[in-house]
């Protein structure tokens, strides 16, 4: 069992009479990338802001490396790095001064550490330029450098790939994975790109209307929905045989069934016996997108 770095219990937020967050519980382990998904207005942003101490929860507790965010704010924050929404830095300062600014707010962060994080995000050549001359990708990198200054145990990234080009997105993804795998950081990522989450995260929490509907590893979430695609001839006979075992759907010339590791050889043997030629058997994982729509019930709400 790996160490728990971030634990959230019974988190609630009420604004006026409206309960926006209705009780959220989850835990982050060391070296894990955790995805946070939900449609607009589901309470994603509010939850993240409660995690980083910008919003005070009405009830519930948040612990970062064992320190309560409300009781031990400064200690908890020492183990947290974050980018909330866009990496907002001071455009009138250069990159290095921006890092210096935030380094001064942390205990025991000296200039060699600043140089280290600059190298880590590969901004050496432009670090003495004013931030207002940076591209969005560079700002994003500077934002991450800033979040890395205190060697956090927990990194909270709100939309980390927002506004990046495809190459940048890939780079970012690899970078985040590297942080989790090599540095043992826990990373909490929220993204509106579901494919991103799918590629990046170990576990996903799906949140809707202020509640977490489901938390699981990406694989297990997906495998329950895994499909097997058959291309057989003759089609009619194949349909007849397969439907005797399980539910089928037909998509043009293909037959689609659920994937069941133990049953599939049997179905295949039955087809062979009946003289149906099996040209192709193809396992297919559904997109998280489909899954998400299934789980949240579509609900008309757009996906953030």
């Amino acid at each position: 069992m790996r160490n728990v770095t971030l634990s959230v219990k019974g988190l609630k937020k009420r604004i006026g009479k409206r309960e926006i967050i209705k009780g959220i519980d989850f835990e982050l382990n060391e070296g894990e990338v955790f995805g946070f998904l939900g449609p607009n207005g589901a309470g994603k942003t509010t939850t993240i802001r409660m995690l980083v101490g910008l919003i005070k929860p009405t009830s519930g507790s948040i612990q970062i490396c064992g320190y309560d965010v409300r009781q031990d704010f400064t200690k908890a924050m020492q183990h947290l790095g974050c980018i909330v929404e866009n990496p907002e830095l001071y455009p009138f300062l250069n990159g290095w001064d921006n890092l210096l600014h935030f380094a001064r707010m942390l205990p025991d962060v000296d200039e060699s550490r600043i140089n280290e994080v600059v190298e880590l995000v590969g901004l050496q050549s432009r670090i003495y330029d004013k931030v207002k001359t940076y591209s969005l990708g560079m700002r994003q990198r500077l934002g991450i450098a800033q979040a890395m200054l205190n060697r956090p145990k927990v990194l909270v990234l709100d939309e980390p790939t927002n506004g990046l080009d495809p190459a940048g997105i890939r780079e970012m993804r690899e970078f985040i994975r590297k942080l989790a795998d090599e540095e043992g950081m826990s990373v909490l990522v929220s993204s509106h790109l579901l494919s991103e989450i799918q590629l990046l995260c170990d576990r996903v929490a799906i949140i809707k209307s202020g509640e977490i509907i489901q938390t699981d590893t990406v694989e297990s979430l997906l495998t329950t929905q895994e499909r097997l695609i058959w291309r057989v001839w003759p089609l009619e006979k194949g349909k007849e045989i397969l439907s005797s075992f399980t539910e089928i759907t037909v998509d043009q010339d293909n037959i689609i069934t659920a994937f069941n590791e133990h049953e599939t050889p049997k179905w295949n043997a039955a087809l062979n016996e009946a003289g149906v030629k099996v040209y192709e058997m193809n396992r297919k994982l559904p997109g998280l997108e489909e899954l998400f729509l299934q789980i949240t019930g579509g609900g008309g709400a757009g996906i953030e």
Binding site: R49, R104, M105
Partner: protein, 326 residues
């Protein structure tokens, strides 16, 4: 804390606000210097002499003639009578109330700038102090550092106090050095009369005494600084409460201008003396001009300002440390 103040100072300097303020002050001082120079020249031409006594005598005569007009508000008449008596007192004791020179110019400039110009300059810095972090979005980074919120606000407030000090010092130095180009850098030792007691239109001269101008100037600067700090703190509070800089500025500007207007017409509305903006002209007590509302004294004004100051600080800190940031 020192680190935090260094941070705020770094941002303040990088924003170059102080440079802009310096330029504004410089341009204004040059304009006033030129205007003053023109005025002096014209007066000399009219009188045919540069003798200040003759000029002052003529001012007294002019004031007397204005007092002779019966279409004058009682309140103005009272103020004119007070200044008339003071002018006469200066003349009788052979003291030039406006000894030419950069020192006098600086004193006059500060005395006239105390209720509007200096507060405006301070506002440029103060109203932006917190709200720019909001509009820039950097407040989110600032408040997720392992530093308590009150410390962050305190570092900002201390930086504000420091920049207010710089602004007041800069205004004084610029007006001294720029006006000195025209009027010469003298007048430090010139005598200034202080301690006029006012009682309606009566001027009590029993406690009058002479102060060297440099002392008087320093006292003026202390009072200007207090006003600047109080106005700065109020703008600071607005900067915390109203998250957009222009809105905060607008509110403060409205208050200051209404104060300038109220000063001319509140004499009958006595409770107006609890407004901070009516109490800004602290230097008038020292130089002995009639306050806008009868019964106001230096002490009452200073206390009123300090109460506003304390309330503004309490509100700022309470709101800032408790507020949710969206």
């Amino acid at each position: 804390m020192n680190n935090l103040i260094q941070n705020e100072m770094m941002k303040l300097l990088a924003k170059k606000r102080l440079v802009i303020i310096g330029i504004i002050v410089g341009v204004l001082v040059l304009m006033f210097t030129y205007a003053q120079y023109k005025q002096v020249k014209e007066q000399q031409e009219k009188l045919g002499t540069d003798d200040w006594r003759a000029a002052l005598q003529q001012q007294i005569i002019d004031t007397q003639n204005r007092l002779g007009s019966n279409r004058m508000l009682d309140e103005w008449r009272e103020q004119l009578q007070v200044s008339l008596k003071q002018q006469q007192y200066y003349l009788d004791h052979d003291i030039n109330p406006s000894e030419p020179g950069a020192t006098t110019f600086t004193r006059m400039f500060l005395e006239n700038a105390i209720d509007l110009f200096i507060p405006l300059l301070v506002m440029i810095v103060a109203s932006d102090m917190v709200s720019f972090e909001n509009s820039q979005g950097t407040i989110k980074l600032l408040l997720t550092r392992p530093v308590n919120r009150w410390k962050i606000l305190m570092s900002k407030y201390v930086t504000l106090l420091l920049s207010v000090s710089i602004i007041v010092a800069m205004t004084a130095l610029l007006s001294y050095f720029l006006s000195g180009l025209v009027f010469g850098y003298h007048g430090w030792e010139a005598p200034v009369i202080t301690g006029f007691g006012l009682n309606g239109s009566d001027v009590d001269v029993s406690q009058v005494r002479i102060v060297e101008q440099w002392r008087f100037l320093l006292m003026d600067m202390g009072l200007v600084w207090l006003v600047a700090v109080v106005v700065g703190t109020l703008s600071f509070m607005l900067s915390v409460l109203v998250r957009s800089t222009p809105a905060g500025m607008g509110i403060m500007l409205a208050a200051l201008i209404s104060g300038a207007i109220l000063n001319n017409m509140v004499s009958s509305w006595e409770s107006a003396k609890y407004f901070f903006m009516v109490n800004l002209k602290l230097t008038t007590y020292v130089s002995g001009t009639a306050p806008p509302i009868e019964g106001m004294t230096l002490l009452s004004s200073v206390i009123t300002l300090l109460v506003w100051w304390a309330l503004a600080l309490i509100v700022s800190f309470t709101v800032f440390t408790r507020r949710d940031v969206y």
